[in-house]
Amino acid sequence: MLLSVRNLQTHLHLRRGVLRAVDGVSLDVAEGETLGLVGESGSGKTMTGLSLLRLLPKGSGRIAGGSISLDGRELTTLSESELVREIRGRRIAMIMQDPMTSLNPVFSIGDQVGNPLRNHDIARGTAVRAAVVDVLRRVRLPSPADRLDDHPHQFSGGQRQRIVAAMAIGCTPRLLIADEPTTALDVTIQVQIIGLLRQIQADTGAGIILITHDLGVAASLCHRIAVMYAGQIVETGPVRRIYRQPAHPYTRALLEAIPRLGAKRGRLAAIQGQPPSLIDPPTGCRFAPRCALRMDKCAEAPPEITLADGHRAACWKLADA
């Protein structure tokens, strides 16, 4: 397995108390596979991604337990300098939501795409420029050789996201974490970036973790899906199982709550209430307070039930069935 995460616990130490942002997450990503980490804001999907790179908020964030193994190598025990040298940007790279915040406005894109190549000794001296042109060509930026000295503001939103992708794939990482990579883009540009991620994966065999709240984007790109709620994965499985036979009441409710193109619905099935606070989460199933199928037993932590090959969900209802 390329990436194996077991029982990951990430805490944010805030003035109000300890926020359990990631609370017992386990997941696997195989080479050439895309795992969709789907959930709402505050569900812990971005914190899970940042934990893999140990890029947690300075001072407050720390990994409190669990293991992260990449190609069999444990990452949680590595020192900061080992992480910087061998993992971050080298074996695991990240594409963020807003290309304007991941690009520095005062440096040329040639400099910025070249930086990781220099830092990780992929290319040196005069070879860097040629390597940058090559990687920009791979993300299909038009006429890259003429644009190395241009700055981020001289590019459109879609082009900027291509440049961010170029920064991420320059060192041919084994794992790519894409955090809402298309959310800031218009739909006809979004489809181009989705195509680009697919092509990068086909070319490099990288595993991808796609973090998104958009069930459409996840369906179009992912092989497997993990649904997060309140810091935990409540259901995981092959993409077709999740969309065709969702098992967890939260997954089902999410799929019911969104309007679907070409399938006019009378009234949307809203999920009442809102997600719990992760400083003092409810004991037992965290979705129970909003769940239409709630039972007394849900006050205890639900067991994870295997429904089919690789399809698991944590719910008492499934334990009884």
Partner: protein, 314 residues
């Protein structure tokens, strides 16, 4: 109810003239919901701002129940301003954090009338009840509410003067998926209950199909296609509308997205291409598309495309 005729708005900048809105004509039917659809920078928010009198058009007219808004006297304009209200995208930005909810809701009321304390409190309690918040919410500040509840407060404020038309600018896009349905259902209930007319700006096409009765697809400041939502979505005529619909990822792993329908980048409104503004990205563009601006033809389902007489995509 509301008619836009030849609406045009240009911005003069250092780099030249931004043709944000160009000759836009649209009609809102009373009790209907018109959705403005298009990519960021296409001019849909500028259109909304002109309707809300936050911007003045360079050319064209806005007629509300037959009266030209530009030629209204003070009293009529005052009346117009209470008939037309808005709910914006981000309830974190649109509510003053230093004001209690009661004052947030009272503000538009007090700008238009002088009710007594008891009558004002009663009105505030009424609109809070309509949007599904307890009366006790009135004493609290915005930060004590979640995003969905804040949007309910913004809706309550918009409702306080019993408007007839509401401009909804991306009303749920800042909210979480599980909360969006709550707010959309609330907006539909309010519309049914009070016979409101909506103008909604949205980029989520599934939401537009679900929520609106009519739709106008805007590309670089011009109307590309307009008509009853069901007809436009079932048989899009303009290649841009077709491209938009083909690019929407569906929550269905077997759905295949089409990247080919709109290649390239969205052009700049600073220097829009001559002829049909979509022609550089259009897979079917011909010579005429590069020279002549196509007229919006057809009723009620209209498209601005030289090729529209060809059979639509199957």
């Amino acid at each position: 109810m509301l008619e836009l005729d030849g609406l045009t708005r240009h911005y003069r900048t250092r780099h030249g003239v931004v043709r944000a809105v160009e000759n836009v004509s649209l009609t809102l039917r009373a009790g209907g919901t018109l959705a403005l659809v298009g990519e960021s920078g296409c001019g849909k928010t500028t259109i909304a701002k002109m309707i809300l009198q936050l911007e003045q058009p360079d050319a064209g007219t806005i007629r509300f129940e037959g009266a030209d808004v530009a030629h209204m006297d003070r009293a009529a304009l005052h009346r117009y301003r209470r008939d037309v209200m808005a709910v914006f995208q981000d309830p974190y930005a649109s509510l003053n954090p230093r004001m209690r909810v009661a004052n947030i809701i009272a503000e538009p009321i007090l700008a238009h009338e002088k009710p007594g304390r008891a009558a004002l409190d009663k009105r505030i309690a009424e609109v809070l009840d309509i949007v599904g918040l307890p009366v006790s919410a009135a004493r609290l500040y915005p930060h004590e509410f979640s995003g969905g509840q804040r949007q309910r407060i913004a809706i309550a404020r918009a409702l306080a003067l019993q408007p007839r038309l509401m401009v909804l600018d991306e009303p749920v896009s800042a909210l979480d998926v599980s909360i969006r349905a709550q707010v959309l259902n609330l907006l539909q209930d309010i519309q049914d209950q009070f016979g409101l007319t909506y103008l909604i700006i949205a980029h989520d096409l599934a939401l537009v199909e679900h929520f609106s009765s009519d739709v106008a697809v805007i590309y670089l400041g011009r109307v590309a296609e307009a008509g009853p939502t069901a007809e436009v979505f079932a048989g899009p005529r303009h290649p841009y509308t077709q491209a938009l619909l083909a690019a929407v990822p569906l929550p269905d792993p077997d759905h295949v997205l089409s990247e080919a329908a709109a290649a390239g980048e969205i052009a700049s409104a600073l220097n829009p291409p001559p002829g049909c503004r979509f022609n550089p990205r259009c897979p079917r563009a011909q010579d005429i598309c590069r020279t002549t601006v196509p007229e919006l033809r057809g009723t009620p389902h209209a498209a601005a495309c030289h090729l529209v007489s060809e059979p639509p995509r199957t």
